[in-house]
Symmetry: C2
Subunit: 241 residues, 2 copies
């Protein structure tokens, strides 16, 4: 079926998925471009395919065609790709042994690359505080390169989760610029959680207080800090060695 | 002096610094926000300060005041900061012993974080191919967090530079997904250059062919690759240990 009008109710509802409110209400989200659509399809999250009319692309899911005008209306990008997908939201699974916690990470690019690096370095669960940017935000999704379909992601209250994990003998690491252990010397633990903080403010004090060990990354003193996506990835790389 | 009109010639010339063409012509660039302005000032690159009228901020350079409307006109941001600076472009110095080469890195955020990480991990010279995004692009500058004032940056033809460095016994590393040495096992060299490639295409083949050693970062096979800013930073971290 070809949709030609942006006033069509179905099209209007698809467009709404660009806002968190409606993603939460419909329990769905949009992904743009062939690569992300294929990743979603492989993992069974793709519900429906939206193609620019005459695009030669087939997957075994419900498919609609739209005009260029409709595609531009739906898309969050200045140059919409010919292929867009509607996905069902990913269901959370129980917490694994290798955990990353993010305390109010707000930049979509940072969250996306952190998800991508987490898959690369064998983190099995990411726990997001309520103050983190929505993982279904289109910029986050693009930066993940589809890797969010390969990892368990949970939104929760970090303090409560840390309490539970400590009872289960997880080692809790947090980053702190002053007064910690150099990442190079950190002893690895079979069950662990690493807490990384907000771009400007770092990890909240009440959360820092609950950590077992503070770690820092050695660096030249003329550089005050690293980008949070970079710092997280270096720590995950080192703990995965 | 207070400037109230966006039609003023001086204001129009400042605005032009948002485009590469005029940055090259005037040999100047704009930086926005107190943090970047202070970094530029400390290193002697700040030529002139542009302040929102009534802003209480003083540095020992020429200073003009502007209205909110003029500030919004000059700024590249949706929410302009009260403090903007005009800087002279940074002069390149001779190539040091610890070199990073970037082959057509095009995302401003990536280039900016790579510059920041390079300072953190003691790279002394970054060499950019002509196809890289302009380092004076406002998004690059923001992502550097001012660190571009702490490192030597050169734009040049990479093939030519590699030839010269090889004659001077630099070890040339490049990243390659298949058929290289794991980063963990790379032997460090006193004089080296690491080549990192474009976001989509990696390092060009003709440049790869000139490398002494290919390196890869061990990762979970479900993740094809890392973001180039992340991969670069992990390599620099490891080589700095």
């Amino acid at each position: 079926m070809l949709y030609t009008s942006i006033k069509n109710d179905k099209i209007k509802n698809i467009k709404k998925l660009n806002t968190k409110k409606y993603r939460d209400e419909f329990n769905e989200f949009l992904i743009e471009g062939e690569h992300l659509v294929l990743e979603a399809y492989k993992k069974g999250y793709l519900k429906e395919l939206i193609l620019l009319e005459e695009t030669d692309f087939k997957l075994d899911v419900a498919t609609i065609y739209v005009t260029k005008e409709v595609l531009k209306y739906i898309s969050d990008l200045d140059n919409p790709p010919k292929i867009i997908g509607i996905c069902k939201k990913i269901e959370s699974k129980p917490i694994g042994n290798r955990v990353l916690m993010l305390d109010d990470v707000q930049d979509p690019g940072n969250l996306g690359t952190i998800i991508r690096s987490s898959v690369a370095f064998n983190i099995d669960t990411i726990i997001l505080s309520k103050g983190c940017v929505d993982i279904y935000n289109s910029k986050v999704l693009r930066a993940t390169q589809g890797m969010l379909f390969n990892i368990n992601i949970i939104e929760s209250d970090l303090l409560q989760v840390i309490k539970n994990l400590k009872e289960k003998s997880y080692k809790i690491y947090a980053t702190k610029v002053n007064g910690g252990k150099s990442l190079k010397n950190v002893e690895k633990s079979e069950k662990f959680a690493i807490i990384m903080g907000n771009e400007g403010n770092g990890v909240k004090n009440e959360i820092l207080d609950m950590s077992d060990e503070y770690i820092y990354i050695d660096m030249n003193p003329s550089c005050e800090s690293l980008n949070v996506g970079i710092a997280t990835s270096i720590i995950l790389y080192e703990l995965d060695k």
